[in-house]
C-alpha cells in the first residue's frame, strides 16, 4: 500500500516506494541511504535536515516523500562536483566553521540557497539567511566568516 | 599524620578514621600545594606540603 514516487535526487532519476505519511527525511535516510541530512528535531525547528527542493530550501522532515513526484531534490551528497568540493564546503573546512559537524550539511544547504538568491549578502543578511539552522558548538562566528569567504570567491572577487 | 604518597595518606586515613573509607572509595581528589590530583595515587606528598581532600568533581 506504499506510494510509488519518481523523482530526481542530486541529478539522478530515482524511484522509491514510501508510506503515505512518510517524510522526505526518512525516505532519504532509510530508503535511499542518503544520511547526510540529519534529524535534530523532526519539527522543522533546527534545520539539520535542510535540502533544496525545486530550488527552495526546505526542512525535509516537514515535507512528504509521496509529494516528490517529478520534483528535483538536492542534498548535501550532491553538493561537491566529483572530487571538487563546492566553495562553501571548502570554506567551512578552511575557516574551522564546524566542530561536531552534525548541523553542517544543513548549514551548507541553507548557505547555498542563500547565495543563489543573493551572491553578495551583508553579514546581517547571512545571519538572517541562516537563522533557521541551529548550531550549538560554534557560536556561528566562524560559520558566518566561511559563508562570507565563499561568497567572495564565488563572485570571483 | 605522616604520609609519603596519596596511597599512604588514604590508607592511614581509612585506618584512623574508618568513616572516611566509603568517601575515599566513592572517589575523592587530593590537592597537593594547589595542584589537584584525582587518580595518581603514587604521587609523592612533599615535606610540609599543603594537602586538601576535595570532592571529585564531574565535568561537561
Amino acid at each position: 500500500m506504499g506510494v510509488l514516487v519518481k523523482t530526481t535526487v542530486n541529478g539522478d532519476a530515482v524511484e522509491f516506494t514510501c508510506d503515505e505519511g512518510e517524510v522526505l527525511l526518512d525516505v532519504l535516510r532509510n530508503r535511499l541511504g542518503l544520511t547526510g541530512a540529519k534529524e535534530g528535531c523532526g519539527t522543522g525547528d533546527c534545520g539539520a535536515c535542510s535540502v533544496i527542493l525545486d530550488g527552495r530550501l526546505v526542512c525535509s522532515c516537514l515535507v512528504l516523500g509521496a509529494e516528490m513526484n517529478g520534483k528535483k531534490v538536492e542534498t548535501i551528497e550532491g553538493m561537491a562536483e566529483g572530487q571538487k568540493l563546492h566553495p562553501l564546503q571548502q570554506a567551512f573546512i578552511d575557516h574551522a566553521a564546524l566542530q561536531c559537524g552534525v548541523c553542517t550539511p544543513g548549514f551548507l544547504m541553507a548557505a547555498d540557497a542563500l547565495l543563489r538568491k543573493n551572491p553578495d549578502p551583508t553579514e546581517e543578511e547571512i545571519r538572517f539567511g541562516l537563522a533557521g539552522n541551529l548550531c550549538r558548538c560554534t557560536g556561528y562566528d566562524k560559520i558566518v566568516r566561511a559563508v562570507q569567504a565563499a561568497a567572495k570567491e564565488m563572485r570571483g572577487a | 599524620m605522616q604520609a609519603g604518597t596519596i596511597r599512604e595518606l588514604f590508607r592511614k586515613l581509612s585506618e584512623q578514621y574508618p568513616g572516611m573509607e566509603p568517601h575515599i572509595k566513592r572517589g575523592v581528589a587530593v590537592s597537593i600545594n594547589g595542584k589537584i590530583y584525582r587518580d595518581q595515587w603514587d604521587t609523592p606528598l612533599p615535606e610540609g606540603a599543603e594537602i586538601y581532600l576535595m570532592l571529585r568533581v564531574p565535568g561537561g
Binding site: T43, C100, P105, L134, T138 | S31, L55, P58, G59, G60
Partner: protein, 777 residues
C-alpha cells in the same frame, strides 16, 4: 668511511637501555618554551571532508543488519507509584520481539548508590520520579509496530504529590521523593528522610568579623533556571547481544569506554565482551556523559536476540536527559572603601533532579574561586525534585554560582565608587592565594585575563542609547584522568594514531599535530582515529576539558616511545650504538665524530626496513593525566535592551581566556565562542518551564529557543598563553570555562542598560520588562 665503535656490540646497542625508561607520565617541562613547527598552526581537520559532504556517520547513521526499532514508554506523571505494568497485549502484537520493564534489569550494582541511581534513572522501578521517566521499552520490526506496542502497555499509576521547585522541595511537608535519603553533612545525622540530600561548607577565616570590618555590605538573592545542553544530535544507540554473551554497541557518547564499563555492570556482562564504538558525536557538552537509553537497547537486544536501535526524539531529549540544576542563591559581600573585600558569603541551593547530586556543592566550591579573600564561607544545599536527573553541562554549576557572585561584586564595586575591572583586579586571586575551596593557588591566569580586559578596546568603545556593558570572570577546575594512545608507523612511512577520547571539537587534528611535532613530520603525515573499546585500553570520557589536554599528553609520550624504537632500528641498520643516534626532523641522525657524515635515515626508510630490524614500529603510552591546572576567563558583553519589550540583543562580545598553549588556535577560539554562545542563550532566553502538573511545557526547539545566527554578533576572542607546567607543551583544558562568565556579564550589562539590577536568569523579555516596571512604581 666511518668505523664502528668496537666497544659496543651492535646487538647490545639495539636492546632497550635502562638509562631511557619507558616514558610514562613524566615530561620535560622546559620543552614548553621550545619553538614549535606544527603546534600553533591551523591545519585542516581530518574529519572535515566527511562532515561537509554528509559522509560522516553519527549515532543514528549506523544500522545493524536485521535490527529492530526500540522505543521507550515514559511516565506522563511527575511523581507516581507504579502499581502494575501489564505488557501482555504488547507482547502479543505481531512484529513485537521484546518488551522490557525494570524486572528485566535486575540490580547488579552491589550497593553502589551512584550506579543504582543510573539504573533507576534508565528505567523506573517502584516509582516514576519525573515527567518522562522511562517505565518500559519495546523492540519491534518497525517504528509503526513499536509505537502501537507502546500504546498496548498498560501501566497502572498511583499519583503522588510532586515538587519541581528547589526552594519548595526544601520546605517541611514537601512531597518526599526518596524515603532513603537522609541529609549528609549535618550533625546530628537526621532521623527522617528528606529532599535535602547534602549540605557542604567551604571557606576560611571569620566572615562575621570580616563583615564588621566592611564599610559597605551588599546582600541579595539570585535565581537561575534549568537549561539543557541542547546538542543538535539526539541520542542514538544500536546494540547487538549474541546468545554467547558477546555484544557490540555503536552510539554517540562522550566516553565509549565508560559507557561500556557502566553498561556491562548494569547488565551483568563482562566488559571485555562488549565492544563499543563511538560514532561521530553531534554535540554533548556534558549531556552525553550519562547513560540514558543505552542499557535499554542492550536489554532489549538480549531479550529479542536481535540487534536493536534506539534513537531518541527531540522531545525525549528535553524531557528525559541531562538538564542543569535550577538554583536559588543568597550572596553577601563586604568591602572597605579602598576596594578591599573583607568578607564574602553565599548559600547555594541547587537541585539534582530526581536523584541526589553534588551540584550545589560544586557551586559552593567555584563561587568565589576568582578572588583572594581573607574571610569567605559558602554553604551548599543539594536538593531532590521531580525533574529529570541533572547532568553535567560544561563547567557544571560554575556559571550559576558566577552569575550570583559576579553580579554582587559588580554591585559592590559601584557602591564604593570603584571601576568594576579595577575592583576585580584589586581582589583577584594570584599565586599563593588560599582559594575559597581550600587549596593555595600556584601560578594562575585570572590576573592576566583582567589586565587584558582592562586594556581591550572593547572596554573603551562608546555605548548607544539603551545599551549597557558588563564584564565578569569565570573559573573552572579542569581535570585529566586515565588516557592511552597508540602510535603506529605504517609500512609506507606514515603514522596512525589511535586515541581513546571522543573527538568533540577537533581533537583528532590537535593530537595528530602533537605527534607530527614530536616526530618532526608534516601534519599531513599523521592521522588520528578514535579507537573502539576492543582495540585500545580504557580511557576516561571527553569531559572536564580533558580530551585534548590528556590525549595530546599521552600522544606525545607514545610518540617519544616510538622515537626510541625508531632510533634503535636506525642503530641496528647502521650497526652503531643507539646512544649515538638522535632523532630530529623526521629522521634518525648518527651523531658524534665516528658517524656524523652518514646520511640520515628517514622515517620512511626505517619503516620500509622494519620487518628486518625487529618488526612493526609503534609507541604506546598509558597515563593518568593529573595536574590539569585550573582555568580562568574574563568576558566583556554589550547589550541593547528595548525598554518597551524587555528584549535584549547582544551587540558586542569579547572572550579572554588562558589556553596554556593553543595547539590549534582555531579550535581554541571555537571553544571560546561556542561556550560564550551557550552562556548567552542561558542568560537571555533558555529555560525549562514546568506546569503546575509537574510536566515540562516546552520540550522542543521552538519553545526552548537556543540562540540562532541572527541573535548573535561576531564573538571576539583573545587567547592568552600561560604555559601549564604539567603538560609537555604547556596545554591547559579550554572547553568549559568559556560558559562560566556570560550569565553574569550579560546580567550586569542588562542591569546597566536598564538601570535595574538583574537577579533572575534567563533575562527573557517578560522578566526584564517586569523588573523595569517594578522599578518605575
Amino acid at each position: 668511511m666511518v668505523t664502528l665503535n668496537e666497544n659496543n656490540n651492535p646487538s647490545e646497542a639495539a636492546a632497550p637501555t635502562t638509562s631511557e625508561p619507558h616514558v610514562n607520565g613524566t615530561h620535560n617541562s622546559d620543552l614548553v618554551k621550545r619553538d614549535f613547527k606544527v603546534i600553533g598552526s591551523r591545519p585542516r581537520r581530518p574529519d572535515g571532508i566527511d562532515k561537509v559532504t554528509g559522509r560522516a556517520r553519527y549515532g543514528a547513521d549506523f544500522n545493524f543488519p536485521g535490527q529492530l526499532v526500540g522505543l521507550v514508554l515514559r511516565s506522563p506523571h511527575a511523581h507516581a507509584e507504579i502499581v502494575k505494568i501489564d505488557t501482555s497485549k504488547a507482547e502479543k502484537l505481531p512484529g513485537v520481539k521484546a518488551v522490557i520493564t525494570s524486572a528485566d534489569l535486575p540490580d547488579h550494582t552491589g550497593g553502589d548508590r551512584n550506579m543504582f541511581d543510573i539504573l533507576e534513572n534508565c528505567m523506573a522501578r517502584k516509582k516514576a520520579l519525573y515527567d518522562g521517566h522511562a517505565v518500559a521499552a519495546v523492540a519491534a520490526v518497525d517504528a509503526a509496530t513499536a509505537r502501537k506496542a507502546l500504546k498496548l502497555i498498560d501501566v497502572k499509576y498511583k499519583l503522588l504529590p510532586h515538587v519541581t521547585d528547589v526552594d519548595e522541595a526544601l520546605k517541611p511537608g514537601a512531597p518526599l521523593i526518596h524515603d532513603n535519603v537522609f541529609t549528609e553533612g549535618v550533625e546530628p545525622k537526621p532521623t527522617k528522610p528528606s529532599n535535602w540530600c547534602k549540605r557542604a561548607e567551604y571557606g576560611h577565616g571569620d566572615v562575621d568579623a570580616g563583615f564588621r570590618d566592611a564599610d559597605v555590605v551588599i546582600s541579595r538573592s539570585y535565581k537561575t533556571e534549568q537549561t539543557h545542553q541542547g546538542y543538535i544530535e539526539p541520542h542514538s544507540v544500536s546494540a547487538s547481544v549474541s546468545p554467547d554473551g558477546m555484544a557490540e554497541m555503536w552510539m554517540c557518547t562522550q566516553g565509549h569506554f565508560v559507557f561500556r564499563n557502566q553498561c556491562a555492570q548494569l547488565l551483568g556482562m563482562e566488559a571485555s565482551k562488549l565492544r563499543t564504538t563511538s560514532s561521530e558525536i553531534g554535540g554533548g557538552f556534558g549531556g552525553k556523559t550519562h547513560l540514558w537509553v543505552e542499557p535499554l537497547a542492550l536489554a532489549l537486544s538480549r531479550k529479542a536476540n536481535r540487534p536493536v536501535k534506539i534513537t531518541m526524539t527531540r522531545e525525549e531529549v528535553f524531557r528525559c536527559t541531562g538538564p542543569t540544576s535550577s538554583a536559588s542563591m543568597d550572596v553577601k559581600i563586604g568591602a572597605k572603601k579602598d576596594g578591599t573585600i573583607t568578607a564574602a558569603f553565599a548559600e547555594l541551593r541547587f537541585h539534582g533532579g530526581a536523584f541526589p547530586g553534588m551540584w550545589a556543592e560544586l557551586g559552593a566550591m567555584t563561587a568565589f574561586a576568582c578572588y583572594d579573600l581573607k574571610n569567605v564561607k559558602t554553604v551548599s544545599k543539594d536538593v531532590i525534585v521531580n525533574r529529570p536527573k541533572t547532568a553535567a553541562y560544561r563547567a557544571p554549576s560554575s556559571p550559576i554560582a558566577a552569575f550570583a557572585v559576579e553580579s554582587a561584586v559588580d554591585e559592590l564595586a559601584k557602591a564604593i565608587g570603584m571601576d568594576p575591572v579595577d575592583f576585580r583586579i584589586k581582589n583577584a586571586a594570584k599565586e599563593g592565594t588560599k582559594s575559597s575551596y581550600g587549596p593555595v593557588y600556584g601560578p594562575i591566569g585570572i590576573g592576566p585575563t583582567l589586565a587584558a580586559a582592562k586594556n581591550h578596546p572593547h572596554m573603551k568603545a562608546p555605548l548607544g542609547k539603551n545599551q549597557g556593558r558588563g564584564m565578569a570572570c569565570g573559573f573552572w577546575f579542569n581535570f585529566g584522568g586515565q588516557t592511552c594512545v597508540d602510535v603506529n608507523v605504517t609500512p609506507d612511512g606514515f603514522v596512525n594514531v589511535a586515541q581513546g577520547t571522543v573527538d568533540v571539537g577537533g581533537s583528532r587534528a590537535s593530537i595528530a599535530m602533537a605527534v607530527a611535532e614530536e616526530l618532526g613530520l608534516p601534519y599531513e603525515s599523521v592521522r588520528s582515529n578514535v579507537a573502539d573499546t576492543a582495540t585500545l585500553g580504557h580511557n576516561d570520557m571527553t569531559d572536564g576539558s580533558r580530551g585534548t589536554f590528556s590525549s595530546s599528553m599521552a600522544a606525545i609520550f607514545a610518540t617519544r616511545n616510538a622515537i626510541k624504537v625508531l632510533r634503535e632500528r636506525a642503530a641496528k641498520t647502521w650497526e652503531i650504538p643507539v646512544g649515538e643516534v638522535e632523532w630530529k626532523d623526521g629522521a634518525a641522525h648518527a651523531k658524534g665524530v665516528h658517524h656524523g657524515n652518514r646520511p640520515p635515515l628517514t622515517l620512511k626508510e626505517i619503516a620500509a626496513q622494519a620487518g628486518n630490524t625487529g618488526g612493526p614500529v609503534a609507541g604506546h603510552a598509558e597515563i593518568t593525566a593529573d595536574g590539569a591546572g585550573v582555568s580562568f576567563a574574563t568576558h566583556i558583553a554589550d547589550v541593547e535592551t528595548d525598554p518597551e519589550t524587555g528584549r535584549s540583543l547582544v551587540k558586542r562580545y569579547t572572550v579572554i581566556q588562558d589556553a596554556g598553549k593553543a595547539l590549534h588556535p582555531s579550535y581554541v577560539e571555537g571553544q571560546f565562542q561556542g561556550g560564550a554562545a551557550q552562556g548567552i542563550g542561558w542568560a537571555l532566553n533558555e529555560e525549562y518551564v514546568y506546569g503546575k502538573d509537574g510536566r515540562l511545557q516546552n520540550a522542543g526547539f521552538l519553545d526552548y529557543r537556543i540562540p540562532v545566527c541572527s541573535d548573535l554578533p561576531m564573538i571576539d576572542t583573545q587567547i592568552l598563553e600561560i604555559p601549564n607546567p604539567n603538560h609537555p607543551y604547556g596545554v591547559r583544558g579550554v572547553g568549559e570555562t568559556s560558559i562560566v562568565p556570560p550569565l553574569a556579564a550579560l546580567g550586569i550589562a542588562v542591569t546597566n542598560a536598564t538601570g535595574v539590577r538583574q537577579t533572575h536568569v534567563p533575562m527573557s523579555p517578560p522578566r526584564v520588562l517586569k523588573s523595569i516596571k517594578s522599578k518605575a512604581k
